[in-house]
Symmetry: C2
Subunit: 252 residues, 2 copies
Amino acid sequence: MKLEVVFSPASLGPHEAAGRAVFVIDVLRATTTICAALHHGARAVIPVSTAEEATRLSQTLGPEDVVLAGERGSERIPGFALGNSPLEMVESAVRGKTLVMTTTNGTRALLGTQGASEVYVAAGVNLAVAGARAFELGRERKDVLILCAGRESRFALEDAYAAGRLVFEALGRRRTRKGLNDEAIVAVDLVRRYGRGWERPFALSAAGRQLTRLGMANDVAEAGRENAYPVLPLFHERRITAVPGAASVTLP
Amino acid sequence: MKLEVVFSPASLGPHEAAGRAVFVIDVLRATTTICAALHHGARAVIPVSTAEEATRLSQTLGPEDVVLAGERGSERIPGFALGNSPLEMVESAVRGKTLVMTTTNGTRALLGTQGASEVYVAAGVNLAVAGARAFELGRERKDVLILCAGRESRFALEDAYAAGRLVFEALGRRRTRKGLNDEAIVAVDLVRRYGRGWERPFALSAAGRQLTRLGMANDVAEAGRENAYPVLPLFHERRITAVPGAASVTLP
């Protein structure tokens, strides 16, 4: 069984996700935000590439049940009801709604997983639930790929750290490097270096520093609230929905 | 002054190298091999993309002064005099010769540096000399980009470690994270984790394990002989040549 990490969708070969279970991570902020939305009762999140596509899709689906969400350059897209902040995903805004969402990096990573056997969304806020599923996949001897969204096709420290946390969860009590690729080994090294707190990797990362500079330090803090949104989002047939009962299995 | 690392040419934006001093690292094995060749008297190394291009160029240049070198899948290309092993680059094979060389990853990285103000070749075997130049560039307030060749457009542990070693050399006594990108921070973390010895990162890396499996453990050991080939290879107008006097400046 392979347990591999890829630091950026740009490094993913065209058929590399094929047949594998994939966990997509964009911890600052898209995958954190998706967990928050589903935890607070959103029916589904549909990731799309462009703002135009989001607008078109919302017209097709019928505007009463749809909320547009997304950012460019970390800021809410003009005309969209929501940006890409987990703190915006409160019940009153999202319950029963379908979010059509477009973000700079997270969306690209999600849409780059064609051919995967199953695709989950992971972040710090659902680490234990996502980790439990990854662990289970390992017991079933299935190959797992953890795909970091990164930043504009590059490595992002906070995603690599989150990937390392997920590798630890996936390994459980096994302490082996067997099946890990170079990226997974380094992601684990980052966890050994920074420990179990999200503050340090967030504070050092370019993404964390940029969000803080833009006045979004609360979003960064929210992304570090480990297991605050214990949902398991599954990306299937273009929609992300919460797997029913996934939280209760892992958080007794 | 920026001091940035990029883990793979696939992550490099089209104009990202423009105007910067770039150090290309492919420590297992292309940049190690280039240092060995120049140290042992090769006149120049010309990196090209394909075996066909290498053959064509050697016919143009005149076969008496040219030696073909390169690998595919770590093995010597059929019909080529040399492979991609630093141990092949002995004086009797290379002195006075121009090597036309093609390798899977290192060549791609070198050819991806268009627009850079200057391009150097770095490895463990010329760490001090390359580091001295990087340090000097920092004093001149020039931006430095360390480009890892990686493996088939992906992250490679041994190159990231080597990049971390070069960052340390470039910083000298400065102990600052200012100007470092996420990759540079992680590369430095790897040096803190693995220390000053090349054995551990080589033994853990997919490239190191593959070469050992193929019976090339001696090449891996050679790549870890720090400062064994104290040359500063400069890539300029398609040719890599040793900067005269660079070694004597840094190794008194």
